[in-house]
């Protein structure tokens, strides 16, 4: 299988490997993610009920209240945060959240190339996401 490398932009530096959790919909961390268990609770969201803990969380961009940034920090302190965040277009709420929680983050990535369950290596210093193993293989 050919490894696919996607090149984007560094938002928060860092390096990690993990399983992708991919959404087609914007995500609000305030009211959309339960800070007590890391599960997505936003109604009508394609990831509703899924846990973001230790995942490479891929979604187009954030939306909603700027308090969402603090929710990302709080998730990290409880060990419930994603390992990395990949966005199509970064927005202020998620960017500030990733900075204060120190979660590796890149944007300007075509997240449609990534499927939930893919093994991804994120080198946020270089702004790169590598798909190491897709879900089927």
């Amino acid at each position: 299988m050919q490894k696919l490398t996607l090149k984007g932009r560094t938002i928060v530096e860092g390096h990690c490997k993990g399983k992708a959790l991919v959404s087609e919909k914007p995500l609000s961390f305030l009211g959309g993610v339960d800070p007590s268990d890391g599960k997505i609770t936003e109604k009508n969201h394609d990831l509703c009920g899924k846990c973001i803990k230790n995942k490479i969380l891929c979604f187009p961009h954030g939306h909603g209240s700027t308090v969402g940034s603090y929710v990302i920090y709080s998730l990290t302190k409880k060990g419930l945060a994603p390992k990395a965040i990949i966005n199509q277009t970064a927005d202020p709420v998620v960017v500030v959240g990733a900075i204060i929680a120190d979660i590796p983050m890149i944007d300007q990535i075509d997240i449609k190339q990534i499927k939930t369950g893919d093994t991804i290596e994120v080198d946020a210093c270089k702004g790169i996401a590598k798909i190491l193993k897709d879900k089927k293989s």
Binding site: P35, S65, V67, Y70, P92, V93, V96, I99, I100
Partner: protein, 393 residues
């Protein structure tokens, strides 16, 4: 983005974690919005204070920042909290009031003034053309449009970061080209009271998205009217500024897209913001945004010698600063049985916990938010009608 040597040192952590994290927030946001540099600010106004809207999540971060030595470098003020220090403090559960106190303590430790108001411009009026980092959309629009200062619509965390660094990224409303109007609004009807100005804001917010309007036909507007317009505009849209014009010549020259607002549009908007079927509200609320001295004087004048109806409750919300300056007016309002509350408003407080199911207000912003944020039905009407409903006889 170009950083000075000093800014680079802070970014690299030479002045500790608190300053580093704040610098990172400003630089990354600056890059996101294609700013070239950071610019000094005169003041910051920080939102995200009420425990009701914040919940538990931010407490840890605010504590970490305060403990790591995060201290404000410029004048910084706070948005309202979820209670006032007297009346509501005793009526709400201890568990909640203690959490609110913990949040305030962190801001206090960082050197933020406990202004607890959405009208920081009544404490210190920003200078014309000065640069600010203000959160609270109503104050942002008022500062840009009425006071001629420059501020983007910050979020709670970015305003706090700006307060600690004393700078903000140079983009958006800080750049003069971006402050020009790009749509023209003609208000064909003479607006009669502050509630109609609020309704205009709600209506325009929905249509304009983030466009900057130049509005014609508001020659009679008072500062209170423009405050209502600003607050409502910020509730339904992303517009950060409006211009007023009395002479249609300039608009014709610029050939802007045009919108007309008619009497019917304002009437329909006010009707849509009244959801209650009853005419007997549990609470009559004035003070969104917080009342000015002039507004308190007007209410005091209307309240003098009157008594609140037995089943009704009247809240008049303002800042500690304004209340202190208006002792005689406060006495008159409280003498009638009304409560002059500081630090708070219905949107960020726990009205549903107090059994308040219907709110009557002159504020279009409150009427817009109350059904979702306060689980309350609404009656939107001008001040004079609100007070008529509140008082006997």
């Amino acid at each position: 983005m170009h950083l000075t040597k000093d800014e680079e040192h802070i970014f690299d952590g030479e002045r500790g974690w608190a300053n580093q994290i704040c610098m990172k927030i400003l630089v990354r946001l600056g890059e996101l919005f294609k700013a070239q540099k950071l610019i000094p600010i005169d003041s910051a106004h920080i939102s995200g204070v009420s425990y009701k809207t914040l919940g538990d999540a931010p407490i840890e971060f605010l504590q970490a920042l305060a403990d790591a030595g995060g201290r404000t470098r410029v004048k910084a003020t706070l948005n309202p909290q979820s209670l006032d220090p007297k009346y509501l403090l005793t009526r709400l559960p201890k568990a909640i009031t203690n959490k609110q106190l913990t949040i305030l303590k962190q801001f206090d430790k960082m050197g933020v003034t406990q202004s607890l108001t959405c009208t920081p411009y009544y404490l210190v009026k920003p200078e014309h053309s000065s640069h600010l980092a203000w959160a609270e959309s109503s104050a942002v629009i008022y500062a840009n449009s009425v006071l001629g200062a420059c501020t983007n619509r910050e979020g709670g965390p970015s305003a706090l970061a700006a307060a600690i660094i004393g700078k903000t990224p140079d983009y958006g409303m800080h750049v003069s080209e971006n402050r020009r109007p790009n749509i023209s609004v003609n208000v064909e009807t003479k607006l009669q009271d502050e509630t109609e100005f609020g309704a205009l804001g709600i209506l325009l917010g929905r249509i304009l998205a983030d466009k900057i309007p130049v509005i014609q036909g508001l020659e009679n507007a008072s500062e209170s009217d423009l405050k209502q317009l600003s607050a409502a505009l910020g509730s339904t849209g992303m517009t950060n500024m409006f211009h007023l014009i009395q002479d249609s010549h300039q608009i014709k020259k610029e050939k802007l897209q045009k919108i007309n607002v008619e009497t019917q549009d304002i009437k329909r908007t006010i009707e849509s913001l009244t959801t209650a079927s009853t005419q007997k509200p549990d609470l009559i609320f004035i003070g969104c945004p917080h009342c000015s001295r002039n507004e308190l004087a007007k209410i005091a004048c209307l309240a003098q010698g009157k008594k609140i109806k037995p089943q009704a409750e009247l809240w008049v919300c303002t800042s500690r600063h304004v209340k202190q300056q208006a002792a005689a007016d406060v006495e008159k309002i409280e003498g009638s049985g009304g409560h002059v509350l500081t630090d708070v408003c219905t949107i960020v407080s726990w009205t549903e916990m107090l059994g308040i199911k219907t709110i009557m207000t002159n504020s279009a912003k409150t009427a817009h938010y109350a059904p979702t944020l306060s689980k309350a039905e609404t009656i939107l009407a001008p001040l004079t009608e609100c007070l008529k409903t509140a008082f006997q006889g």
